[in-house]
């Protein structure tokens, strides 16, 4: 089963260049390990939430707002999609994901991907 690990990170805290370098190294190690084991299905970092645009369609009218959907301290900063046997395995991977992508402290939300009937896996 596939799980999405959504990385939420504080953007208002600054990390030192050394810290950012360490985060980058941790991500590279994790990408290497998950792809070697054949469980990596996707992963990307996002640009800062200041680059976000939110689109809402209300009765056919398109509303565009500048900024992310939710104004919270911790913003979506990136994701992994991994193939896991069960939630315990997914949680073990999530614990290895560094959360300081945007500089601050953060957390990882683990969500199972809903499997659609026509998907071929």
């Amino acid at each position: 089963m596939r799980y999405m690990m959504l990385i939420y990170s504080r953007e208002d805290e600054a990390a030192t260049p050394a810290e950012l370098k360490a985060v980058g190294a941790q991500h590279r190690a994790l990408l290497e390990e998950t792809s070697r084991l054949g469980v990596l299905r996707g992963a990307d970092p996002l640009e800062a939430s200041a680059t976000a645009t939110t689109v809402r369609t209300d009765n056919g009218k398109v509303m565009i707002t500048d900024g992310p959907f939710a104004e919270t301290k911790e913003q979506l900063a990136g994701y992994y999609i991994l193939e896991c046997r069960d939630l315990d395995e997914a949680l073990a991977w999530a614990a290895k994901i560094p959360t300081a992508c945007q500089g601050g402290t953060g957390c990882v939300e683990v969500r199972p991907l809903r499997q659609m009937p026509q998907s071929s896996e």
Binding site: D86, L87, P117, E121
Partner: protein, 417 residues
């Protein structure tokens, strides 16, 4: 007829946790397992009335429930083949297509299944309210309405909580297994804390149906027995069961007929249940001999020391103080520090105890904690400083909403005023 209902109820209470554990593994689903078990009990009522109660009712129910599961699987397969290639987007009770509908009953003992079930119900990915509800509903022999009454919830709210938890287990695929060794200590601690929470919910005097509360304690003790039976080598499992038994042994003595709190010191010790005390003491002694004392064992040891005193004046406070000292190194909570200070007051002198309590309160952090003021008040009362004691009792009274505790504090205020 009533006799039959009583037999069915007793099978339900004592055996359903054991039976359902295997059904869940076979079905890969809590809901289907519960449905099968319910159908089997309904079938039992009908069949036993005509044909008489079988020699082994639990085995009969198990077999009937397993047949029901096979029926469901067949029906589901037929439904699927009829549905053909139709897609069911947005269907709320969506089943993953790779989920195996077949039912497997072989392999694995019943004990393994029950252990799996305990760990799944107490999985940290479920919130603690859900863990408690699920543990009581699936492992225990309580009905949804009994659990709802015990927790002062509406049946609908509890049903919703259970449904949400079961959906998460299914959809997020929380595993049905005993955690591997590296994660076991942490996960076992979560199970123990759920069982202790259930016990305390029944034991701590708050509002609610007292009969159901009594049942919660009995249920927690039963589940602690199951856990110890399944994992006999863990001394904290023994400690937990011992702690529950030793506390529960005082149930008849700790309140008056009209529900007033009777302190340990004032209790009529002849009304304690000495069979439970004997079992609790034996369990904790055996556990402590393994020399890996955890918080449950130490608390049970403290309760055992209290139980050894035939009258309150004989209490070995020195030993209790020493045990609280050990406990406070493992559990640095205000309640443990307070109890430690009180034990020192009782063994080494009230002044010294009061100084420790005041020291503890000097940071102001405990100003809003009613037990802090109640403990201070009790020491001041013993020292004869009645005006200060009354003040402290009043501060405690202002901070508690528990009717039984309020009643106790009012009585003390009247005594010292």
């Amino acid at each position: 007829m009533n006799e039959l209902a009583a037999i069915v109820e007793s099978v339900f209470r004592n055996e359903s946790g054991r039976i359902i554990a295997g059904l869940i593994r076979a079905a890969g689903s809590f809901d289907r397992a519960e449905e099968a078990l319910q159908d089997a009990f309904a079938a039992a009522m009908a069949s036993w009335q005509t044909h008489g109660v079988p020699g082994n009712p639990a085995a009969w129910i198990t077999a009937a429930a397993q047949r029901k599961l096979i029926d469901y699987a067949r029906r589901e397969q037929t439904r699927r083949s009829k549905a053909g290639e139709l897609l069911h987007f947005g269907e709320s009770s969506y089943e993953a297509p790779d989920e195996d509908m077949s039912v497997t009953f072989e392999s694995g003992s019943c004990e393994d299944d029950r252990l799996r079930l305990i760990f799944t119900c107490c999985h940290p990915a479920l919130n603690q309210e859900a863990q408690v509800a699920l543990t009581l509903r699936t492992l225990g022999g309580l009905t949804t309405s009994e659990i709802a009454r015990a927790f002062l919830l509406s049946e609908a709210t509890l049903a919703q909580r259970l449904a949400r938890a079961k959906r998460k287990i299914q959809q997020a695929r929380i595993p049905y297994e005993v955690p591997p060794p590296p994660r076991l200590p942490e996960r076992l601690a979560a199970v123990q804390s759920v069982l202790y929470l259930i016990f305390n919910e029944g034991y701590v005097a708050t509002a609610g149906d007292s009969l159901v509360r009594c049942e919660l304690c009995a249920e927690a003790i039963r589940l602690a027995r199951v856990l110890l039976e399944l994992m006999p080598d863990n001394p904290e499992n023994s400690g937990l069961l011992a702690l529950m038994l030793l506390h529960d042994s005082r149930r008849d003595a700790r309140s008056t007929r009209d529900g007033q709190l009777v302190t340990l010191e004032e209790q009529d010790r002849s009304r304690w249940h000495w069979d439970q005390i004997a079992e609790g003491k034996q369990l904790v002694e055996r556990a402590l001999a393994l020399r890996s004392a955890g918080p449950y064992q130490i608390q049970a040891a403290i309760a055992a020391v209290h139980a050894e005193a035939r009258k309150a004046d004989d209490t070995d406070w020195k030993q209790i103080a020493a045990l609280y000292g050990v406990l406070s190194a493992k559990q640095n909570t205000p309640i443990v520090f307070l109890n430690h200070a009180v034990a020192i007051a009782m063994s080494e002198g009230l002044e010294r105890g009061l100084a420790l309590v005041d020291d503890l309160g000097s940071s102001g952090e405990l100003d809003h904690y009613h037990l802090f003021h109640a403990a201070r008040a009790d020491l001041l009362r013993r020292m004869g400083r009645t005006t200060e004691a009354a003040d402290a009792y009043r501060r405690a009274l202002a901070l508690t909403s528990n009717a039984v505790e309020s009643g106790y504090l009012r009585r003390r205020i009247a005594e010292v005023s």
